[in-house]
């Protein structure tokens, strides 16, 4: 079973340490929820795993099956099967969602198998439609320009559609629940459940319990001050829902300088 391991990770952003000694191992097929108040470094962690150039790793490692991926560029990490559903996806005017996804799928397949000739347009359409059905999306949506003029909810749904088509081994969902109304949240969550089953190791980053009503995590972690301070099962999320983060602050003290959103 493939695993993604984050080991003793320390990360600087603009010379401030945002992640300090973070440890987590996610196995393919497991769903982990990472919760915590604003500004504890959750999104920084997501970007760092994906390889954003602005984040500077001072020590620690990120490994897939024991092999470090820190020397890899973001596209190479994607080829290894890592996927990030963005909190704020950027728009690419003039490029349709369908066209973009076909290029991305072909790029990944070619990286995995240099002899890959690319998916035919017909086969790709079938694939895309089946994934859109799963997420109850209108087919016409695929011909819109990528994230251009999408509502908040449409962007999030489009992110999960991309995950569905690219079939990564590990997916980080960075606040995918924000911007979704309750129906969309249910549909997207069910989609994630179906896709993840046994195939994808998922890290769900969220402030709130509500997405976890639909996606039952195998593990819940609370991130505070740049590291995981509490880990448990689904009940931990319920406790947060009831009691908020106040008890965490009391237990682990005020945030050190430099940690903010």
């Amino acid at each position: 079973m493939t695993e993604l391991e984050i080991r003793n990770l320390h990360v600087l952003v603009n010379d401030k340490e945002i992640i300090r000694d973070f440890n987590l191992t996610i196995r393919q097929g497991e769903i982990h929820a990472l919760m915590g108040p604003n500004g504890t470094g959750k999104s920084t962690l997501a970007y760092t795993i994906m390889g954003h150039p602005r984040y500077q790793i001072t020590s620690g490692d990120v490994l897939i099956d024991g092999e470090s991926i820190l020397g890899l560029t973001p596209d190479e990490r994607a080829h290894k099967g890592i996927f990030l559903a963005f909190q704020y996806p950027v728009s690419i005017p003039g490029v349709s969602l369908a066209n973009f996804l076909r290029v991305a799928l072909n790029a990944r397949n070619k990286a995995v198998n240099p002899d890959d000739k690319g998916i035919s347009v017909v086969k790709f359409r079938q694939l895309l439609k089946s994934k859109m059905d799963l997420l109850k999306m209108d087919y016409q949506f695929a011909s819109r320009y990528l994230n251009e003029g999408f509502s908040g909810g449409e962007k999030k749904r489009a992110e999960i559609l991309q995950m569905a088509v690219l079939e990564p081994r590990f997916a980080i969902l960075d606040e995918t629940d924000s911007g979704l109304d309750i129906d969309a949240l249910r549909i997207v969550s069910e989609g994630v459940n179906t896709l993840a089953q046994g195939h994808i190791g998922v890290l769900v980053i969220t402030h709130y319990q509500r997405m976890l009503n639909y996606i039952t995590p195998d593990f819940v972690h609370i991130m505070y001050g740049g590291r995981i301070v509490e880990s448990g099962k689904a009940e931990l999320a319920l406790r947060l829902e009831e009691q908020g983060y106040e008890w965490i602050r009391e237990k682990y003290g005020v945030l050190p300088d430099g940690i903010h959103d």
């Binding site: 973001p74 596209d75 990490r77 003039g94 490029v95 290029v103």
Partner: protein, 470 residues
């Protein structure tokens, strides 16, 4: 498009199905440089009527007095003394395939052009002729009364129609290079579409192979009579390889009452070429003129397609994209002159610069006092792919009329780190990601192109972007 036309299209590039005929003309080439004697020789060689010789000579005298313009791109590298002003096109083409630079051959390969077509485009080797194709299409056009001839044959076969309109849109005094073209023009098309006739298929799309024969000083004249419609496509996305380094064409279009003309140019000159072109249309009442213009390649391009909106309700559009790579300056834009009431115009200009390339938008919107209730909208978008590249806009607005609506928007954008990271995170390399952003940027133009050109345009952008990210 009928099946027959499809068959013809497909047969292009399929080999030697259609034999070619190579007219056994004597070969004439003028000496370097220009004087009255050379102008007389050109006219005599073409067996022109007296009025045309007079026109050429007047144009030459005018040209001799006019300075090379300095207001635009740097033309100091242009040596007019060294140019051969007239050579039979096929004689220029007596080169060997080995002389064609590797990068040009590679581009042909990557565009997937058959070898015969590659050689034809490069102007070498066995001529690859489309006489037969030409003939079939010509027949169906003739039935509709459409005239589609080389400009030389237009002058010979339709002298009155020709003389009535020739230089009526672009007089030789228009600008220095229009004067030069008027003196030495050779090659180009003559098109007349009769009243009410709609030509369904883009003209010239089938004859793109003939592009290898366009001259340095081509001149085209298109007349759409009342209510007529035609789309003329000039160019091809394959690089036009020329050993000579100067191209100065004139395109004149007459759009009569209620007529509609679209003129699409896609040019990818080799990077030694100075491409200085005058394109103008006169648009009469309720007529519509659309210039769709893609400029890639060349060392310097100066090109400002213009519409003279002469009749009430006339409409003009320019949709252009310029791609400036290393060492290139694309100085492109548009001119819209509103003379009559209720006229409207729209300019959409997109430029991409990379590797110290420079692109400029230079535009003029003039609304005369009589042109009440007119509208004009200008949108210029520039995309810079790196820090060395440059983009400028030089918009001029001269509004004399009342009750007009004028809009102007200009944006300059860089491909952002966040855009790149987003696409990277989906498995696209920097180069693939940049290419995708660029393709999206020019999508508004590409979707206006005939299918086969759109496909090639996208491939061409990919080629242009190769090695652009380092």
């Amino acid at each position: 498009m009928t099946d027959n036309h499809q068959d013809i299209l497909q047969s292009i590039g399929s080999g030697d199905k259609y034999g070619f005929s190579y007219p056994d003309d004597s070969i004439f080439t003028s000496r370097k440089g220009l004087d009255e004697e050379v102008v007389r020789q050109i006219s005599a060689y073409k067996e022109e009527p007296e009025w045309m010789l007079e026109f050429r000579l007047n144009a030459f005298r005018h040209f001799s007095k006019r300075p090379i313009p300095t207001w635009g791109a740097d033309l100091s590298g242009l040596n007019l003394e060294e140019i051969i002003y007239y050579a039979r096109p096929r004689q220029i083409d007596q080169k060997s395939w080995e002389d064609v630079p590797e990068n040009i051959k590679n581009t042909f390969d990557r565009l997937g052009l058959p070898e015969a077509e590659q050689k034809y485009l490069a102007g070498v080797g066995a001529q690859y002729d489309s006489e037969m194709v030409y003939h079939n299409i010509q027949e169906s056009l003739e039935k509709q009364g459409v005239i589609f001839l080389s400009i030389e044959n237009g002058l010979k076969q339709h002298p009155d129609l020709f003389r009535e309109h020739f230089a009526s849109v672009v007089p030789f005094s228009d600008n220095t290079f229009a004067a030069l073209n008027s003196a030495v023009w050779s090659g180009g098309s003559f098109v007349y579409v009769p009243k009410g006739v709609h030509v369904d298929l883009p003209l010239q799309a089938y004859f793109r192979l003939n592009m290898a024969n366009i001259g340095q000083f081509e001149r085209s004249l298109i007349i759409a009579d009342e209510g007529a419609q035609v789309h003329y496509v000039e160019g091809c996305t394959a690089p036009l390889y020329r050993t000579e380094s100067f191209h100065s064409g004139v395109i004149e279009i007459v759009v009569k009452k209620g007529a509609r003309v679209r003129y699409t140019t896609i040019q990818n000159w080799s990077t030694n070429v100075y491409n200085l072109v005058t394109q103008r249309a006169v648009v009469e009442e309720d007529g519509t003129m659309e210039w769709v213009d893609a400029n890639l390649g060349s060392k310097v391009t100066m090109k400002y397609p213009a519409c003279f909106l002469k009749g009430p309700g006339a409409h003009g559009e320019v949709l252009s994209v310029a791609f400036a790579g290393p060492g290139q300056h694309q100085d492109a834009g548009a001119k819209m002159i509103h003379f009559a009431p209720n006229t409207s115009s729209k300019i959409t200009s997109k430029s991409i610069s990379r590797g110290n390339g420079r692109s400029s938008y230079r535009g003029l919107v003039r609304v005369a006092s009589a042109a009440e209730n007119s509208r004009s909208n200008v949108v210029c978008d520039a995309l810079l792919l790196d820090h060395e590249s440059r983009s400028d806009t030089y918009p001029t607005m001269d509004i004399k009329a009342k009750d007009v609506q004028i809009g102007h928007e200009a944006t300059v954008s860089k491909i952002g780190e966040e855009q790149l990271f987003y696409l990277n995170s989906r498995g696209l390399s920097d180069e693939e990601a940049t290419t995708m952003v660029v393709s999206g940027f020019i999508e508004p133009l590409v979707k206006e192109l005939p299918m086969e050109y759109a496909v090639e345009m996208n491939k061409l952008i990919q080629i242009q972007m190769t090695g652009s990210v380092g």
